[in-house]
């Protein structure tokens, strides 16, 4: 198929960006979206232009590095996938596709489609851990049974890949789904109880400090989240925060 791409180009974080049009031809429906971008970039290199910078690494939907806003949706039109898992069969010959970076005050653009998501890391520094020494001098792993249900729920929350689609999607640029997922993982496990109150307080405080907005329950994040992280995690985080304030 032949496509028109409208892509955000921005030289660096200080430059003013703009949308630029490109054409690609002979795109196979079996290609992934990023393979289509590779084709474009090879074309640009051949013609002496600068290729489009975009973040990507694993190309299998797990590292959370890829981050495009495609036709107005984080990770594009498909559900339950990251951009690297999006396939061209989702598009039609002759389509025009707009491709922008994730936009949020807390995710400044570095170049073209690449944004800075280190604000997510800083939230994790504030409390995204259990304070256990790594020497292995701990009790046997089976000493504390954990109900399968709780373990599975903790696992579901823990599958967040830290991509930031929830933030890019939210009209308030809220990071509640991301933070809620981490808080929930630990809140659901006995190991996480000891520091639960401090953890949620500190992570939420850092989240506010980074300039993420508040949650107004539109639920858009849950729909766009490639890993199906549920809104329940936000509710659980709010409950944890309430508990922590008493």
């Amino acid at each position: 198929m032949n496509l028109t791409l409208k892509i955000w180009r921005q030289k660096d974080s200080n430059a003013k960006g703009q949308m630029v049009d490109y054409k690609v031809t002979d795109i196979s429906e079996h290609m992934s979206f990023l393979e289509m971008m590779d084709v474009l970039n090879e074309q640009l290199i051949a013609s002496g232009e600068e290729p489009v910078a975009f973040d990507h690494d694993c190309r299998e939907g797990i590292c959370g590095m890829c981050s495009m806003y495609i036709n107005g949706e984080a990770h594009g039109p498909d559900r339950g996938v990251t951009t690297c898992q999006l396939h061209m069969r989702m598009f039609n010959d002759g389509d025009t596709i707009t491709i922008e970076p994730f936009r949020a005050a807390a995710f400044p653009v570095i170049k073209d489609l690449v944004v800075d998501r280190t604000s997510f890391d800083r939230i994790q520094h504030a409390g995204g851990y259990i304070s256990v020494n790594t020497s292995g001098n701990t009790q046997d792993a089976n000493n504390i049974p954990i109900s399968k249900h709780a373990a599975d729920e903790a696992m579901d929350a823990a599958t967040c890949i830290g991509c930031g689609a929830c933030v890019a999607t939210c009209k308030n640029s809220s990071a509640m789904l991301f933070v809620g997922a981490k808080v929930s993982q630990y809140a659901l496990l006995p190991q996480g109880q000891v520091e639960a109150a401090d953890r949620v307080r500190n992570m939420v405080a850092q989240m506010d400090l980074e300039g993420f907005g508040n949650c107004t329950n539109t639920g858009a994040c849950e729909i766009e989240c490639p890993k199906g992280i549920s809104l329940e995690n936000i509710a659980r985080m709010n409950r944890e925060l309430m508990k922590a304030q008493f």
Partner: protein, 670 residues
């Protein structure tokens, strides 16, 4: 220099304990004055950085991604081994040790493997304490699965995302230390050289990938944990950025590179669909627990399937060739990876491949769905269940076990694997070879360590499933933090290492010259053009089976390609900005050297062992006819190569392998 593996004396089961009892320690007050650089934040580097920081050292950690959480360890699906014997099926430290040495086709160092097995159980304790949500049974205890090549269930898992959960565990431990100021984290930084002062590793040169700035970082010791070099094949299951640069740069500065030809070609990956393919996706090996591998028995059916006249589900049981079950009745679909991969290649080379490229075999879950369905019907007391009911019940079980993998498959291939068998084909997945290290995990350069997939140490010529995660965490949490202390104990009075010295000047100049060359060369071909060509040579001539003629050709072709690269490569953009093409160019330059050494090593090793299959070395008759033939008399050694300029001129050093605790046997999975 003679290779000294520094394996401690004494019985194998006491070596590590004895060793720890007698090494030098650094007291906590002095650790504050010692800096350690860790390059890489995967399971190995992440766990090492966190532990070193916790012990009190000042750690500087580097990764090329925007966060340590994105290292390629994140992609590991299947699980992690540990000799816990929770299932009571006879597992033990010795058995894990034995399986790993045997699985590695007797080409690993016994003492290292024993230590790995010994600390394995502790990894699980550690991770559970960190909040890693491993799968559990209904009683609330940890669940296990079994993995290819072994007879016990010792694999711990977190759905199909075990690597992700373990890495997030290590990342959380790092976060705690970053918050305390004990780890200084350098994201989006790429190490481009190591700096040696008086023969010791004392720092690195790194490029800030956002600004392009070239930076000097000093330390008392440098740890390389940069992962494997599978991307030398261009297509692999590795991440796009996975590279050999850190490992190769230290090789050029004196670290020997061991067994580069030992690579693992994983049997269960999604087949290639076209020339635009940028990477290959693994389907976890755990699928082989329930999936049965087959191709049609008759060529007419193969053609009918390829032309769309028949569907795989149209074929009756006796029109199918379950070739692994046929050839290896004892292990069946659970033979080790190298055996399964070669068997797939053998069928496809014979023309039985089931997709358009002729490079695909089926992995079929129909029997498993039926078996689980019947079992569930019995458990739920459903009398005379319909076929549909059985299917539904069975599907639910398969979905619970592998749901995310099936979904991943469907997204890529656009076919429903519950209804029609998956198609799979082998792909490059893991590199057992790597930087040579001694028992302390130190390279042949003083103060320079190498851990995780980047080193060569524990898997011999073939790695068993679920053992890389174990090794990465064992190295990082439990081994390196001890062994490095023994070395650093001599550095407590050294003081901070200055970076305004001639050694740093020189190393920095080398890096800047390389970058200037790329930017100013203005050649004709993109970096990917070269990388793809290299990949094709590697796959065709250094792939699942190798022979003398092909390897000699590979060496010559890679050399020619490298020369062309250094004349005609084209890198757009400038040096002082984010420039992904420039990053790739530097990585491919190193692959173009490593590839040639790889072929040289494969040529030198005229035996078949593990993932390295030499067509000249097969069993000629008997039950094992046509199977790989190892040659212990001539090749029971580690081939450690010393850099001498051109890869072809590398000098071979042999570390003879001694087996005192395991008898050398030809592997048989029949």
């Amino acid at each position: 220099m003679a290779l000294d593996s520094k394996v401690p004396k004494g019985p194998i089961k006491d070596k590590w304990t004895e060793y720890k009892n007698h090494i030098n320690l650094v007291n906590p007050a002095n650790k504050r004055h010692i800096d350690v650089i860790v390059v890489g934040t995967g399971l190995a580097g992440g766990s090492a950085a966190a532990t070193l920081a916790e012990l009190g050292y000042n750690v500087k950690a580097f990764c090329y991604q925007d966060s340590p959480r994105r290292a390629h360890s994140i992609a590991a699906q299947g699980g992690i081994n540990a000799a816990k014997n929770y299932q009571g099926d006879g597992d033990s430290t010795y058995r894990l040790f034995y399986d790993t040495v045997k699985g590695g086709d007797y080409r690993s160092r016994e003492a290292n493997v024993y230590r790995l097995a010994e600390v394995s159980a502790n990894i699980i304790d550690q991770c559970v304490a960190q909040g890693v949500p491993f799968a559990r049974d209904y009683g609330g205890l940890l669940d296990n699965r079994s993995f290819g090549g072994v007879l016990v269930s010792r694999t711990f898992y977190a759905k199909g995302q075990t690597g992700q959960q373990l890495l997030l565990g290590a990342y959380s431990a790092m976060n705690r230390q970053i918050a305390r100021g004990k780890i200084q984290m350098y994201n989006r930084h790429e190490m481009l050289d190591v700096v040696k002062v008086d023969g010791k590793a004392r720092g690195i040169i790194a490029r800030n990938l956002i600004t392009g700035e070239i930076e000097r970082h000093s330390a008392h010791a440098v740890v390389i944990a940069s992962g494997g070099y599978g991307n030398v094949y261009f297509l692999s299951t590795n991440a796009m950025g996975s590279n050999a640069t850190a490992a190769w740069k230290i090789h050029k500065k004196g670290a020997y590179f061991a067994n580069p030809c030992y690579t693992q070609i994983h049997p269960t990956c999604i087949p290639r669909s076209g020339d635009y393919q940028s990477k290959l996706t693994l389907m976890s090996e755990s699928l082989r627990n329930d999936g049965r591998i087959w191709v049609p028995k008759n060529m007419e059916d193969v053609l009918a399937i390829r032309e769309g006249r028949k569907k795989p589900t149209d074929l009756s049981e006796d029109e199918r060739d379950y070739y692994l079950e046929r050839r290896y009745p004892a292990f069946g679909n659970l033979v080790p990876r190298d055996v399964a991969s070669r068997a797939a290649k053998e069928r496809c080379d014979a023309g039985y491949g089931v997709n358009a490229t002729g490079e695909a075999v089926y992995l079929d879950f129909a029997s498993a769905i039926e078996r689980y369905g019947k079992e569930q019907a019995r458990i739920q007391n459903i009398e005379n269940p319909s076929a549909q009911k059985i299917y539904d019940l069975g599907k639910a079980i398969v979905e619970a076990k592998y749901g995310n993998l099936f979904q991943m498959y469907e997204k890529i291939v656009d076919e429903d694997p519950y209804k029609t068998p998956m198609m799979i084909y082998p792909a490059t997945h893991y590199t057992m070879g790597g930087v040579w290290v001694d028992y302390n995990l130190m390279t042949t350069v003083d103060g320079l360590y190498c851990i995780g997939e980047a080193n060569f140490s524990d898997h011999g010529a073939n790695r068993l499933g679920a053992s890389a995660l174990m090794q990465g965490l064992a190295d990082g949490y439990f081994v390196l933090p001890y062994t490095i202390g023994d070395y650093l104990a001599n550095d407590i009075r050294t003081g901070a290492i200055p970076t305004d010295t001639k050694e740093f000047d020189e190393a920095e100049k080398g890096v800047k010259d390389m970058i200037d060359f790329f930017i100013n060369n203005k050649g004709q071909h993109s970096v990917d053009y070269y990388h793809k060509k290299l990949g094709k040579i590697m796959w065709d001539k250094c792939g699942m089976s190798r022979n003398e003629q092909g390897l000699k050709e590979a060496m010559a072709e890679i050399k020619a390609l490298r020369e062309d690269f250094w004349k005609n490569v084209k890198v757009p953009g400038s040096a002082n900005e984010m420039n992904p093409e420039l990053e790739k160019a530097a990585r491919v330059a190193d692959f173009l050297e490593l590839g040639e050494l790889f072929a040289k090593d494969a040529l030198n090793r005229n035996e078949s062992c593990g993932g390295h299959f030499r067509e000249e070395s097969v069993e000629l008759d008997g039950e094992q006819k046509g199977e790989a033939k190892r040659n212990d008399k001539d090749y029971a050694y580690v081939a450690a190569w010393e850099y001498k300029g051109e890869p072809a001129d590398a000098v071979l050093h042999k570390e003879e392998l001694e087996f005192n605790d395991i008898e050398l046997k030809q592997r048989s999975y029949k």
